[in-house]
Symmetry: C2
Subunit: 365 residues, 2 copies
């Protein structure tokens, strides 16, 4: 069997720095576990724009479609703020999501014991927290047509975006959520605004349909998304799996990520339909952004990106034991008190650099 | 001069209970301060549906347009879940907002010293918190056309809603935010998703325009709404005034409300353009919902609704000293340790009832 193939897209800001540490982990597997990957590296986001004038080159897109998994760092930065909407760094990321049809975005919000004190929430509210947010990623208001900025007819302008969800779009992401719940605590909470949006009514009905017809054994509840935002802050441990649309998922998963107090720790997976070889189309990326303010300073935390690779081992390559090894090494390093700057409070403990953190994880492997 | 006029719409669930306590405060002003209001009471939401088959009777709507201010309790409940979208309790509330054109929804998120421990966030993160969120309330995705549920052409259905903002809609709510900031700490943070939504780009540009042309002395920053959700959880005290659209404002203001740990404490004001008498069109309501699970049990906290009346004194009737009196009485009662059930932890202190809380506030006045 050929080696599994990986396309690495470090992107902008701290992307290249954190990805360099992932490369160490990948190399470690080749040397110590005889698990080798065919790795290609390419540009995305602002980096691609600088080289090609577009945030994702067609050749890169074609390569992403061919490989077993894509690993992405981060995109964007103030340098690109004035660019036309159509070539902004984010469009590269959105194009990957859309053309690979990565409809299920898995965002675990997990609180690491060693870091519970670091959350802005009380320790007892977040310690042991383990939520999985499933965000629909290829439809909804970030993609719907019509969209744009036009003249209104009163001398001003009007900005338009369209939220649009179909039965099949909702059902397939609901299935992902129910499947995940079966391997976890068997509970799904679906969030929308069915009280004020018709697309929310359809969302609720279709999720309920999938439940009743295909997963009656999983516990399903529904919550308005504003109440969901509240409950995430008030009592996050009440949730197991949350399934929601692209826009609500964007805000809710970021709020949930912040509950853990350690954004630099959180990975994500974006999954699509199975390919011919049975593996799902997949892209893995840290939840944190490109953090241009600290880029190039060796301050970034590479753990989220390394744990994203662990998710790839689990979801793309069916190597759960290997994923466990990586996750175990991360926990061991944290237990030793090794911290990048983002994981330290104001008081003056001294942080390790991005590359020292990577080395510590390799040592723990 | 005629007495100022008030339309009271208690609505559903705990609405009537908490409003009964507001009536005590209104009566107290009549007796002790010679400040009398012409009060009319009517139905809204499920209560109106039960009586008239619609969630807001045209006569009630006409009355709302005529009075100086509307005071609303809460709408909705599981009893009405199966109703057709067009007559759901929430449509009554939305009709009031839309036809009165109450475009600026002021949602203070304020942490009361006596209650700081009750937040799920660490005390030092929230004590002294005082944010004002200005949510656009009459446009955006809750109102835009086209909307509805239709057949897709693949045997399924499609749910559609439209986000739509014009120059003038954005500018007027931005002005409200800048005006408020001038009376506070002079800082406005505007939130949208200009990186993925054209309506977000227009939002950002128009807010910037109002700043540059009309309020250059106020400090303005911009933040993506997902990052905003994170920052609210991580470090809420960094904000003074936040201005954002209807949908983002819905989630962000609820998350911010929950930071304070005391949803039962938070009032809101929804303001429109000035009427002939110079007063703005206005509706005041607590941030909490109808809480059907505890309705009728005397457990509800009337403070949010009483503080909503205090906001009316401040914003509609230009009686800031009287507003101070009410707010002072609430703080005094809290300092005495008097608590409704929602303000008590798990440990077994015994709560006062809705009406006992109202009486305590009257005693403190
Ligand atoms: C960078 C941006 C386009 C993206 C999004 O809004 O989806 C990001 O915020 C995310 O959550 O992955
Ligand atoms: C009841 C509902 C229509 C309303 C909204 O979504 O605007 C409520 O959640 C609010 O925030 O005032």
């Amino acid at each position: 069997m050929p080696n599994p193939s990986l396309l690495i897209l470090p992107g902008d800001g701290i992307g290249p720095e954190v990805m360099a540490e992932v490369r160490k982990v990948i190399d470690w597997f080749g040397t110590h576990k005889d698990v080798s990957f065919d790795v290609t590296e390419d540009l995305v986001g602002g980096a691609a724009y600088d080289a090609h004038g577009v945030p994702l080159h067609d050749d890169t897109m074609a390569m992403a479609q061919k490989v077993d998994a894509v690993l992405l760092g981060a995109v964007g930065g103030p340098k690109y703020d004035e660019l036309d909407f159509s070539v902004k760094p984010e469009r590269g990321l959105l194009r990957l999501r859309k053309e690979m049809d990565l409809f299920a975005n898995l965002r675990p919000a997990q609180c690491f014991d060693a870091l519970a004190d670091f959350s802005s929430l009380k320790t007892e509210i977040v310690s042991g927290l383990d939520i999985m947010i499933v965000r629909e990623l290829t439809s909804g208001i970030y993609f719907g047509e019509p969209r744009g900025i036009m003249d209104d007819n009163e001398g001003g302008r009007v900005g338009i975006n369209t939220q649009r969800y179909t039965t099949s779009e909702i059902r397939r992401v609901a299935r992902s959520a129910f499947e995940l719940a079966k391997k976890r605590n068997n509970r799904v909470c679906s969030m929308e605004k069915a009280n004020v949006m018709e697309s929310g009514i359809l969302w609720r009905e279709e999720v309920q349909w999938v439940h009743d017809n295909e997963y009656p054994e999983v516990e399903l509840s529904h919550m308005y998304a504003d109440a969901g935002a509240m409950q995430l802050v008030r009592k996050p441990k009440q949730f197991d799996v949350i399934v929601t649309d692209n826009l609500f998922g964007d805000l809710l998963s970021d709020a949930a990520a912040m509950l853990t107090g350690s954004l630099g720790m959180l990975p994500s997976a974006s999954l699509g339909a199975p390919m011919a070889n049975g593996r799902p189309k997949a892209m893995y990326e840290p939840v944190h952004g490109s953090a241009p303010d600290i880029a190039g300073e060796g301050k970034a935390n590479p753990i989220a990106c390394i744990l994203s690779f662990a998710m790839a081992l689990r979801y793309s390559f069916d190597m759960p034991q290997h994923a466990d090894i990586v996750e175990g090494a991360v926990e061991a390093v944290l237990a030793q008190g090794i911290r990048t700057a983002d994981l330290l409070g104001e008081e003056g403990k001294s942080p390790v650099t991005t590359s020292e953190m990577g080395d510590a994880i390799i040592a723990a492997l």
